[in-house]
């Protein structure tokens, strides 16, 4: 994975602490690498230790600073434990990326066939889990007068894709919650962005659409770099929804050339 951030002028996150949920695979893992490459001390959160430890080892091998916290965001006690462990390991968190989410059971099902419990689980992780962790970490940010929160959403939040109902509803709710967070945090020094990363070549995407043409999907590493670029800038207003479309590997290479 390429963690170079030449486009944004190097290690602008030096001395900052970032926490990424869903950090053991896909976009979260790529974000961990990109944030560490930009100089941040990174805390990755995920449910299972082994893939998380591998993600942390990868960052450390590249000279970055990373720590692992195992937790299930659906657990009501998790937010305070994550916040406490993270602050013990790196200090106060400056940047929270709510990236973890669950699709629910795959293959995805029509709403008529979706169990209520599966909708509840999607809301518990993707919406309520992110809310609890934001509550636990945004308070300290407001106290210090600075901080950034990124909620990772999906185009499923705005488009009516058949069989994506539970996930889509959780992401739409997360986006609206983000708008209200941003309104309430105005003037506190704490920013919140919603990012729609587009269709990426990740395990989650393969679970949802096993027969997708991977050549058509974005590389999560490239998407992560775009998100880090967004954080480096100050021209995006808090509360904004940013759709990132890096496109297939071939197209993004072309884009890089013509920039």
């Amino acid at each position: 994975m390429d963690h170079e951030n030449a486009a944004i002028g190097g290690r602008f996150l030096q001395g900052q602490n970032a926490l990424v949920t869903g950090g053991s695979q896909g976009l979260g893992r790529a974000l961990g690498g990109a944030l560490a490459a930009a100089g941040a001390r990174v805390v990755l959160v995920a449910r299972h230790f082994d893939p998380l430890a591998a993600a942390v080892a990868e960052i450390r091998a590249g000279g970055g600073q990373a720590h692992a916290v195992v937790a299930d965001l659906a657990d009501k006690d998790a937010a305070a434990a994550i916040a406490g462990q993270a602050a013990a390991l790196v200090g106060p968190i400056d940047l929270l990326i709510n990236n973890a989410s669950t699709l629910g059971p795959v293959p995805l099902r029509l709403l008529l066939d979706t169990d209520c419990e599966d909708l509840e689980r999607a809301l518990a992780v993707n919406l309520v889990g992110a809310f609890r962790l934001t509550k636990a970490l945004a308070g300290p940010m407001v106290l210090r007068g600075a901080g950034t929160i990124v909620n990772v959403s999906s185009d499923a939040a705005t488009e009516a894709y058949e069989r994506w109902g539970a996930y889509a509803a959780s992401k739409a709710a997360l986006e609206q919650l983000g708008r209200v967070w941003a309104a309430e945090l105005a003037g506190t020094g704490v920013r919140l962005f919603t990012v729609d990363p587009g269709e990426m070549d990740t395990k989650m995407h393969a679970d949802a659409i096993p027969d997708a043409d991977r050549a058509e999907l974005s590389d999560p590493g490239r998407v992560a770099e775009r998100i880090v670029e967004l954080l480096a800038g100050s021209d995006t207003a808090s509360g904004a929804r940013v759709a990132i479309r890096v496109g297939p590997a071939q197209a993004s290479a072309a884009q890089a050339v013509t920039r």
Partner: protein, 367 residues
């Protein structure tokens, strides 16, 4: 007065007894509720909070012979220099208890098994070695955990519970013992004076022109049930004052604003720091063994927001550093009559000169 047995419906709406030591005689007490806090402070005042998050400091396990032991951590050894790149501590000072749990009052708990230096304890996934015992009590020991870094902190949060209280109806989960601004996990019990502060109240204070600032103070245990240890509490506690807070204190004092401490931990940190630097507040880390007694004369702190306490409690007696004994006696009588709730989840008291009579901003004398 009796302890609160559970959480209030809203954390930021409890009774508040305002005690104004600068008010004319007979006008120094008023009962209100915590949502009134923003109008009791004035533009230019500074509210200083302790941003320490509460650790899951109670660990239950066994010694090598399988005998039950509870360890309550009360201080970290070696300090916290995480931001400077040092790993978090692996050695702690702990008080040991024997069989039973928090449902039994600490003073009624059986003592721990006799453990020599080097004895091994296991708390689920956490293993530790008993280090040096204090001369104060053999139950006060150093604990060295086998793990460090990510593994230690994962195990501590998995196996540990917040210190619990026998006067409560239910045990408290970790999220219930945090203030809304809890940041670094330095506190072994909740810095509970700040529990009624919601963001509604904090942002209203700011809109009014009251500034806030934070420091981190490693609040230890409030009581252990061991008379020798309890007589020595609080033990020396670590604190850190950020540069922005040191500046805010200096600016507030220069402009005749009042410095209001949220809780005794903030008083100890600020006054302890002032004592070490000739009355000035410097940014940085330190440790203080300062004990706030009725004879203590604060140099930096003008007022204090505190939990409600009964007249015989040491926490109430330290309010005498901020208000005269007649006024405090009247305050205690009022709280008793009105049925104020005490302890961690109870009602609040604000001692602040000028809170009720703004014309008299500074207390000219106390005692």
């Amino acid at each position: 007065m009796r302890p609160a047995h559970g959480y209030p419906d809203r954390r930021d709406d409890v009774r508040l007894l305002v005690i104004d030591p600068a008010a004319p005689e007979g006008a120094g007490l008023r009962e209100t509720r915590t949502p009134a806090l923003p109008v009791l402070l004035a533009p230019g005042d500074l509210l200083v909070v302790n941003d320490a998050a509460t650790l899951p400091a109670s660990l239950r396990g066994t010694d090598e012979a399988g005998r039950p032991v509870e360890a309550r951590l009360l201080a970290a050894r070696g300090g916290w220099r995480v931001e400077a790149g040092s790993p978090p501590p692996t050695r702690f000072v702990a008080v040991l208890f024997g069989a039973g749990d928090w449902h039994t009052r600490t003073e009624d708990r059986p003592p721990p098994p006799e453990l020599a230096e080097g004895a091994r304890l296991r708390f689920g996934a956490l293993a530790a070695t008993v280090g040096r015992q204090a001369t104060l009590s053999p139950r006060l020991v150093e604990l060295r955990f086998d793990d460090d870094g990510d593994a230690l902190w994962a195990a501590l949060y998995k196996e540990g519970r917040p210190v619990q209280y026998a006067h409560l109806a239910h045990d408290l989960p970790l999220w219930a013992v945090q203030t809304v601004y809890a940041t670094r996990p330095w506190a072994f019990e909740m810095p509970s004076a700040g529990r009624p502060l919601s963001w509604e109240i904090l942002l209203a204070l700011r809109r009014r022109g009251v500034r806030w600032a934070s420091l981190t103070h490693a609040a230890g245990l409030s009581a252990t049930g061991d008379p020798a240890i309890d007589a020595a509490l609080p033990l020396p506690e670590a604190f850190e004052i950020p540069p922005a807070t040191a500046r805010a204190v200096a600016e507030t004092r220069a402009h005749d604003g009042r410095v209001v401490a949220v809780g005794t931990t903030v008083v100890r940190a600020l006054e302890g720091a002032a004592q070490q630097h000739g009355g000035a507040i410097r940014a940085g880390r330190g440790e203080t063994d300062l004990r706030i007694t009725p004879a203590f004369r604060p140099r930096v702190v003008d007022g204090i927001l505190s939990g409600a306490h009964a007249a015989h409690e040491s926490h109430f007696q330290l309010l005498a550093a901020f208000a005269g004994s007649d006024l405090l006696a009247a305050a205690a009588a009022h709280a008793e009559r009105a049925g104020f709730l005490t302890h961690e989840l109870g009602d609040s008291m604000l001692v602040l000169p000028g809170a009720l009579a703004p014309a008299h901003r500074k207390a000219t004398s106390v005692g």
